[in-house]
């Protein structure tokens, strides 16, 4: 498998705090790579750095032979690196369908002015977005909720909508921050299948997740952070045996690595 993304010596300091400390790893095309670590380990910060929401204090992110760190988020998204959020992942005041349609923005061929004038190309875009949105909505099991206001969705469906928005941008790499948070066992199992199905569509996935059983099931490889530094990298089975990882997780009280 070719490598798609390369993280080189990435560091982020917030004042005196080093949130991400000299982290390097590679992401291969088509894999599901999870990033785990105790609370405050720097996982979300790492995601923000990769998707260019934050400028690194040091280090670089390379995507398909291009340096993307330090660009703006919309540029990174345009190149194919798209991030969803740990917290609010949706446009609350729009319906499910509207959310997914608007997320097709990157695929527009018509200019904004073209959309204003309603040119033939703009109308073709609109029709295509609406069609593709229907498909994505059905794919993620949101068909019944199509016209519901996003803010009224139950938790599990919110996460699915977040993923739908990410998918609509036709990303090469999708970064999902805690996609299973707040889900019960059944919902998680369903979501795991969903993430797998997303990968089948040719999307490479980066995941931050606390739900260890789910992580172990779903990941091809895992990167472990602790206090901002990478302490391990490898297949799920290797990570579960890794002494440093076990130590890191034992050091924090409310975490379990699900051994």
């Amino acid at each position: 498998m070719a490598e798609l993304l390369e993280i080189r010596g990435l560091t982020k300091r917030f004042g005196g705090l080093v949130a991400v400390n000299d982290v390097s790893f590679k992401v291969r095309e088509g894999e599901i790579l999870s990033i785990i670590g105790p609370n405050g380990a720097g996982k979300s910060t790492l995601f923000k750095l990769i998707a260019s929401f934050l400028r690194p204090s040091a280090g670089e992110v390379w995507f398909r032979g291009k340096r993307i760190s330090g660009l703006s988020p919309h540029r990174a998204a345009r190149l194919g690196v798209v991030r969803t959020f740990q917290e609010t992942t949706i446009f609350r005041g729009m319906t499910v369908h509207e959310n997914v349609v608007i997320a097709h923005h990157l695929r527009s061929r018509a200019s904004l002015f073209g959309f204003y004038l309603g040119t033939a190309r703009a109308r073709a875009d609109e029709a295509e977005f609406a069609r593709s949105a229907e498909e994505i909505i059905r794919f993620l099991g949101l068909g019944d909720m199509r016209d519901h206001l996003a803010s009224t969705l139950p938790h599990g469906h919110l996460r699915a909508l977040g993923i739908a928005i990410g998918l609509a941008t036709a990303p090469a790499v999708l970064l999902l921050d805690e996609p299973f948070a707040g889900m019960n066992h059944d919902e998680t199992m369903r979501a795991v299948e969903l993430v797998r199905a997303v990968r089948e569509r040719g999307v490479t996935l980066l995941l931050v997740e606390h739900d260890m059983p789910a992580v172990m099931r779903i990941s091809d490889r895992i990167v472990v952070l602790n206090f901002g530094s990478k302490i391990a990298e490898g297949a799920p089975a290797e990570i579960q045996q890794n002494a440093r990882v076990i130590e890191a997780y034992l050091g924090s009280e409310d975490e379990s690595i699900g051994l």
């Binding site: 998707a51 929401f53 703006s72 988020p73 919309h74 998204a77 345009r78 798209v82 991030r83 969803t84 959020f85 609010t88 992942t89 949706i90 446009f91 609350r92 005041g93 729009m94 509207e98 349609v101 608007i102 997320a103 923005h105 990157l106 527009s108 904004l112 959309f115 204003y116 004038l117 309603g118 040119t119 033939a120 703009a122 109308r123 609109e126 928005i165 609509a168 941008t169």
Partner: protein, 331 residues
């Protein structure tokens, strides 16, 4: 304007537009002629111009920014057109779009840094803008300081191939009627353009911005330039409104548009309804006449006015148009 526009027009909308045009361009002039109240032309012209400026403010609300600085752009637009007409001898009809474009250009420069701010912070900075504009007008040599610019010429005529497109306002018996038609026509144009904008993809992108800027940028929206685009259109409206106002009153002073006006532009939007493109038009009309009607109450005018306003906003947080007087749909 739009090829796609006809297809999106519903029969109700066609009737609505027809009634709107008939009232503003036929019924009102007829009623004024019949009653002899020609002073109403000036009043209604003011309402139309203020609602153009308010439309701009509405557009900044639309990208999730509270704009209390539109007075600055109305003042700037007024001065630019006054200076171009009086000092450079330019035709008003050229000065008018130039005034709007000047304001749009300034708002790009100002907007790039300040549009990063949100909520109260943006509101405060825009509030200061109005005051900065007033102080500049007082200080710059070209604006003639506190004495202002007076005795400005009325708009001249426009001829194309010997055909008079626009008559010289100075030769008209009732220039106020001509200003009424001009202002109402421009108001209609501005609101039509804004309606189209809001209902095109740009409008939906603005809504995405309003709801979640981070997410908008992660789906590839260039939020910085979209914000600046909306803000510059907003300021263009402010400048155009101000420029015509100055032509009507044939004078401009640093106090022609103040913080008070900036606040009113915002209130017009609140009152009409932030969810409706035509909100600022209705809001301006109601606020303007409401204020005048309370004139008889003397020193209680402001107290009663504010109380009613507060009550209205509590009772109708989504504005007057949320009553859906014509069965309009939201949007």
């Amino acid at each position: 304007m739009g090829l796609g526009m006809q297809s999106s027009l519903r029969p109700g909308a066609v009737i609505g537009v027809a009634v709107y045009v008939a009232v503003l361009f036929v019924l009102v002039p007829w009623a004024i002629a019949a009653s002899g109240r020609t002073d109403l032309y000036y009043t209604l012209t003011s309402v139309a111009l203020l609602s153009i400026a308010s439309a701009g403010v509405w557009l900044t609300f639309f990208i999730g920014r509270i704009n209390i600085g539109q007075g600055a752009f109305s003042l700037a637009g007024g001065y630019v057109s006054a200076i171009l007409v009086a000092r450079a001898g330019l035709s008003f009809w050229l000065a008018l779009p130039l005034a709007g474009l000047f304001c749009a250009a300034v708002s790009v420069l100002v907007g790039l840094p300040i549009l990063r701010l949100r909520g109260v912070y943006f509101a405060m900075v825009t509030l200061v803008l109005t005051e900065v504009a007033r102080l500049l007008a007082l200080a710059l040599p070209i604006t003639n300081g506190a004495k202002g610019m007076v005795s400005l010429p009325l708009p001249g005529g426009v001829k194309l191939l010997g055909v008079t497109l626009i008559p010289d306002f100075a030769t008209l018996a009732t220039p106020n009627r001509a200003f009424y038609f001009l202002s109402v026509a421009l108001m209609s144009l501005c609101f039509a353009a804004m309606y189209r904008l809001v209902h095109s993809r740009i409008g939906r992108l603005c809504r995405s911005l309003q709801q979640n800027e981070e997410l908008a940028s992660s789906i590839g929206v260039n939020i910085a330039s979209l914000r600046v685009l909306a803000y510059s259109i907003s300021s263009f409206f402010g400048g155009v409104g101000g420029a015509i106002f100055v032509a009507v009153s044939q004078s401009i002073y640093p106090s022609s548009f103040t913080v008070n006006d900036s606040v009113n532009f915002m209130l017009n939007c609140f009152l009409g309804g932030l969810g409706y493109v035509f909100g600022p038009m209705l809001g301006t009309l109601v606020l303007y006449f409401g204020w005048d009607l309370l004139f008889q109450t003397g020193r209680f005018q402001l107290l009663i006015f504010s109380s009613i306003l507060i009550a209205l906003m509590l009772a109708l947080p989504n504005g007057l148009l949320s009553l859906r007087p014509f069965g309009w749909r939201r949007g």
